[in-house]
Amino acid sequence: MEMTHKPFPSPTKAKSVAKERPRGFNGHRHDKYVAAAFLGPSLVVLGIFVFYPMLKTLYLSLFLTNNVGRPTVFVGLKNYGTLLASSAYRASFQATLIYVFSVVVLTLTVGVLLAQAAVQKLAGIRWFRTIFSATMGVSVSVAAIFWLFIFSPSVGLLDQLAASLHLPVINWLTTPGWAMVAIIVSTVWMNLGFTFLILFGALQMVPTTLYDAAAVEGASPRYQFLHVTLPMISPTLFFTATVTLIGAFKSFGLIDLMTAGGPNNATNLMVYQVYRDAFLTGNYGQASAESMILAVVIAGLTWVQFKFLEKRVTYE
């Protein structure tokens, strides 16, 4: 393979490359027409389905909307005010934070565990590697159905196990705390395949002599893990963390299928709240304000990721 490809490149680094490496040709006079033809379709699509809707969402968030979804009464920032004052929305925000935080921490922890287990040099390890990456091929609805069965009351696996072991039966999806646990577990499971593949790759790229050196210097396996492995894969960990974080903020499918935001709104995460307000109760103004808040949060996180990628250390 004669070139390296970079699916997740750093934006600003690319720019600096451009400056370092001036191209050996100057723009032709007709370049701009070619550019218009080449770039035009993409710009039109992005314009119609990304830029315009963002502005429109902002606009709608300043209005009350009528029965059929048209903005009728300008209320300024009142929709935002209502949201901030609403304990339900604050609870939704808080639930989202709990969910996102738990998902990221657990995904990374288990992901590192899987990756660490898979770098061992053992007979048949390739099978385990394949298995560990399996959930990458699982879509939300399939994951939701698998887990819904596990968590479902009376017929579900967990309740049957609990019953046969004479443990107290938990109403997983109808008790607020447990429902949150259930969707977190399902989300983490679904994330593991992707996370494992990335972290495993990173682990494989840690030069083995670093471990040799550490071992000779008297570092125990635990110490090696904490002081060699983790620092070496920390850029990848950060990358995975932000990708998981952003993904978790956008979670919708699992919640829709497993809990529909309940019980008692315990799993009513931000995207779900947008869906409910817009597409169940037709409260588009309010839902737009919620969308804006969501957009700001995600844009902020993406920005942080960009900034980091830009500064990120590349170890040779």
Partner: protein, 453 residues
């Protein structure tokens, strides 16, 4: 490079495979569709699941076979809550249905959108005999003498109990019109005498049931007499009727004779499953469940009226279920076909078959004389109860539904409050929060629609 070529090979294989499956399916479908050329398609949206869906599809097939001009194409659109906004959102596009089923509480909202053709138009054109339709049901979907939509699947909330279990533990069944106390007694006895093998009772966390507690207590949920005399501007979730019912549930939960199955579609299927397997003694639910509760159930099903507070007369409950609406964005020809379909669904025969299969009440008064329904009543006398309950109810402003927009929001909010109460929260506090949120929603909505400054 080699690996990539291999990958492409596999991908190609996959594409071919799925395409084959797809073509197979498509030709199968084509064979089905071939029977009906040159017909006008009538898109029909519904929200029926399980046996009700199967029966509805049979009725659709019956209609399609009964004439050669139209072909009704049924599409399942998820639950009632989802469907309302879908109907509103697609109006005026080719995706929109010509005729759709929409739940009771969406009446005010749909009427206000201006997207619908009141069925009254065709009733007048056809001199359709509206009297054959049960008055209690039809009044719910009429406004100022204009029939907006046609009631189709109508249910009554009732109390179900496992008569076989009660007999086994020597428990006197609840009376026909039980009070909260009557039910508590039965639930306590069931739980105790079965040594907790049977859970006494449950009430699903469902806004509709909350509304019925108010209705049966004769209390208004929204001002302007539940919207029957004007546009409501505020709601009241904290009336004595609401609080009494919630306290009753909470107390029973704390006593351990009440089990919480939560909210949503799963809750209903779980409580049904438990009831059928003899692990649950009693529950409040729509009469539409009768079909499911009688087929293959070895135990005898007992049915009573919806409960009411002690020391008060039952005011009667409002109907539940949904009605059929005509969308005004289709051509006159299509609308006419949609109306013909509605008429077909409302015949005495269709309605009788409908009740037998589902438990929804046959709304055509002549259905009672059909052999199908007679056979049902003979076999399962308990199935008469919902109809009797409906007939016994003298319609008034608190038991004829709530003419308020945004009732989905109301259900979300009251369900949240119920969930909190089930988890042990103070009923008044939980309901007050919901009430404030709903009133603010109603007022915003009124402002946005220009009903209120």
């Amino acid at each position: 490079m080699k690996r990539i070529r291999k990958l492409w090979g596999w991908l190609a294989l996959l594409v071919v495979g799925v395409t084959l499956i797809g073509t197979g399916w498509a030709t199968h479908q084509a064979a089905v569709a071939r029977a009906v050329p040159h017909r006008t398609k009538i898109l029909f949206w519904h929200e029926m699941t399980g046996p009700a869906q199967q029966e509805l599809l049979r009725l659709v097939q019956g209609f399609n076979r009964s004439q050669t001009t139209y072909q009704v194409v049924p599409e399942f659109e998820g639950n009632y809550n989802e469907a309302v906004q879908k109907v509103i959102d697609t109006h005026g596009t080719t995706a929109s249905p010509a005729v759709f089923q929409s739940m009771d509480i969406s009446t005010s909202q749909l009427a206000h959108t201006g997207n619908i053709t009141p069925v009254q138009k065709y009733i007048d054109e056809d001199h359709y005999d509206l009297k054959q339709i049960a008055p209690g049901a039809r009044a719910f979907y009429a406004n100022r003498g204009v029939q907006l939509s046609m009631p189709f699947n109508t249910s009554q909330p009732v109390l179900y109990y496992n008569a076989t279990l009660l007999k086994k533990y020597h428990i006197t069944p609840p009376p026909v019109a039980p009070t909260y106390q009557d039910i508590t007694r039965v639930a306590t006895q069931l739980t105790d005498r079965s040594h907790h093998k049977v859970q006494g009772m449950t009430v699903e966390i469902y806004g509709w049931l909350f509304e019925q507690f108010l209705a049966n207590s004769g209390e208004e949920l929204a001002n302007q007499h539940d919207g029957h005399t004007g546009t409501p501007t505020e709601v009241n979730f904290t009336s004595p009727g609401a609080l009494t019912a919630m306290h009753w549930i909470q107390t029973n939960l704390q006593r351990g004779i009440f089990v919480n199955y939560g909210a949503g579609a799963n809750a209903q299927s779980n409580e049904t499953a438990s009831f059928l397997s003899g692990r649950l003694g009693m529950f409040l639910q729509s009469s539409a469940l009768i079909g499911q509760l009688t087929t293959g159930n070895p135990d005898r099903l007992g049915i009573s009226d919806y409960p009411h507070p002690v020391g008060k007369r039952a005011n009667g409950v409002a109907i539940g279920g949904a009605s059929l609406w005509l969308s005004n964005d289709k051509s006159a020809h299509v609308q006419r076909g949609a109306w013909d379909f509605i008429k077909y669904l409302m015949t005495a025969k269709s309605q009788a078959a409908w009740q037998v299969a589902t438990g929804y009440l046959a709304l055509n008064q002549r259905s009672a004389q059909t052999p199908a329904l007679r056979a049902l009543f003979r076999k399962l006398p308990a199935t008469r109860v919902p109809g009797n309950q409906l007939r016994a109810t003298a319609p008034n402003q608190t038991n004829s539904g709530i003419f308020l927009q945004g009732l989905i929001q109301e259900r979300n909010l009251t369900q949240t409050a119920m969930e909190q109460i089930y988890q042990g929260a103070d009923p008044r506090r939980a309901l007050s929060t919901a009430q404030r949120a709903m009133t603010s929603y109603v007022q915003n909505n009124n402002r946005a629609n220009g009903y209120q400054k």
